[in-house]
């Protein structure tokens, strides 16, 4: 599991781990709790171009459907087959094994993200 203090967060309840030009994207523990037990995850295939702000995947629980948004433009290099095969990983380890996609981006385009403290303040409202 990543150190959650090193991650960037979005208002769509996603986290972003930066590693050069590759970012790993997942949903937060708060988002997973709000969804309830996740039973189905649909993710874009490797090679897909994604557009910032657009829906690129679906995260379904027994009671509702959550959407995965692309935080910025980029190209998917890997989607997490483990989470597709075992969606419960999203609930069990949202910041670790429950990651969604790895994407190559231009890091200079990533703006408007929140720090962990800012994100925690957002969901505490």
């Amino acid at each position: 599991m990543a150190n959650t203090a090193d991650l960037k967060y979005t208002r769509d309840h996603e986290w972003i781990a930066l590693d050069g030009e590759t970012v790993t994207i997942g949903i937060t523990d708060y988002a997973a709790d709000q969804l309830g037990d996740v039973v189905y995850v649909d993710l874009p295939a490797a090679g897909s171009a994604i557009e910032g702000g657009k829906v690129v995947g679906e995260i379904e629980s027994t009671k509702s459907v959550g959407e995965l948004f692309a935080p910025v433009d980029g190209t998917v290099v890997e989607s997490n087959q483990a989470v597709i095969d075992n969606p419960q990983l999203v609930n069990d380890d949202p910041f670790g094994e429950g990651w969604m996609i790895k994407v190559t981006i231009d890091p200079s385009t990533l703006s408007g993200t929140l720090t962990e403290d800012e994100y925690r303040a957002l969901v505490a409202e």
């Binding site: 709000q34 459907v65 959550g66």
Partner: protein, 379 residues
């Protein structure tokens, strides 16, 4: 991503216990109620395989008493309530004059000339208003909204009986039937400490189980005692999320989804609940006797393959023709595939009919199937 409880929503007398147990909450019918205590799937399976305990204190409770109570209920409701036995319960419908459904409810016949009518939280005010209005022509009748005085605990699952039988401090009143002798939709009366408890063999999960009606002052102690007895048997606190998937598997309608003012009982498969053979008038009779309008959609069950579920509001197609809409849908935790209830054109209700569901832009094949999706094995 979900409803945030509004500041003015009501809290159950068990609220602090739910908070301590780590529940997440949602606003439901004006009440802040537990959605789950961690894992709705675990809670669902606990009810199917062992037992779950639900706080359903949000439900409305209307007391109907007096010598005219039975005649009043026969007039106010769609069913024939005057023939219910002492300590018998009956599912019924509150109709408007057009035959639309104001609420679905359960009438408990608790003593001579004493009935408790349990209504949905979100319809409490509408139901009480309709009851009060319909009471006008009856002399010896008192109708009271006692919802805020009563807590309701539902213990559901194959081990529910064992849980109740081993709960410290819960005992049956003298002369009342033992728990194991209470038939489905009948009740017995007990004590918990000095407080009386109505124990009804009713529920909303498709499992055997009981619903316990207690004074709100006794609710915390009873909940704790039930859990102490039940935890070794697999009893788990369960929230509204699992309650919804359980009732959906059991093919039970939910007001606002399968039932509403614009839906007649026969459309929702509840024609049998309307007692057209009873003597005398009842509200909605004329409209029901006139029959359904041509082409009125009717409720069916749908099953699909894979794991993407059709959800409430999604359109149903026959070829390229829009033929209906899903009223409730989810991946069935028990069956492992998606299930849905839908209102479809009356020509398409035959079991085995092949339709499609529009799941956010993708058409998924669906097959009309008999309700309920899940039926427990009876002893």
């Amino acid at each position: 991503m979900s409803d945030t409880p509004s500041v003015d929503s009501k809290q159950s007398p068990l609220h602090e216990l739910h908070v301590a147990a780590g529940a997440s909450f949602t606003d439901f019918g004006g009440w802040q109620m537990p959605v789950s205590y961690g894992s709705d799937l675990t809670e669902h399976h606990a009810v199917r395989n062992a037992a779950g305990i639900f706080d359903v204190s949000h439900m409305g409770n209307i007391s109907v008493t007096g010598e005219d109570a039975a005649a009043f209920l026969d007039y106010a409701l769609a069913g024939k309530l005057s023939t219910t036995g002492l300590m018998q319960a009956k599912y019924s419908l509150l109709l408007d004059s057009n035959g639309g459904i104001i609420d679905d409810l359960i009438v408990y016949h608790n003593a001579a000339n004493e009935y408790a009518v349990v209504v949905n939280a979100g319809n409490r005010d509408a139901a009480f208003a309709a009851f009060s209005e319909r009471a006008a022509g009856f002399k010896n009748l008192t109708v009271r909204d006692i919802s805020d005085d009563v807590a309701i605990l539902a213990i559901q699952g194959p081990r529910a009986l064992e849980v109740l039988e081993t709960t410290e401090g819960l005992r049956i009143m003298e002369g009342q039937p033992a728990l194991r002798d209470v038939k489905n939709y009948w009740s017995t009366a007990g004590w918990f400490g000095d407080g009386s408890v109505l124990i009804a063999r009713t529920g909303y999960t498709g499992e055997d189980g009981f619903e316990l009606y207690v004074d709100e002052a006794d609710a915390v102690g009873l909940w704790q005692a039930l859990l102490v007895a039940g935890e070794p048997l697999g009893l788990t606190p369960a929230g509204l999320a699992s309650r919804d998937t359980l009732r959906l598997e059991a093919g039970m309608p939910l007001y606002g989804h399968e039932l509403g003012r614009d839906i007649r009982p026969a459309q929702a498969g509840l024609g049998r609940v309307v007692a057209l053979t009873k003597e005398g008038d009842f509200v909605g009779r004329g409209a029901i006797e006139a029959g359904l309008p041509d082409g009125a959609r009717v409720l069916v069950g749908l099953v699909t393959e894979g794991r993407r579920a059709g959800r409430a509001g999604y359109a149903v197609f026959d070829g390229d023709t829009d033929v209906g809409v899903i009223t409730s849908g989810a991946l069935s935790p028990t069956l492992g595939h998606p299930i849905a209830m839908a209102m479809v054109d009356p020509a398409l209700t035959e079991i085995g009919t092949e339709l499609t569901i529009d799941v956010r832009g993708t058409r998924i094949p669906a097959t009309v199937t008999a309700l309920p999706f899940y039926k427990r094995e009876k002893n």
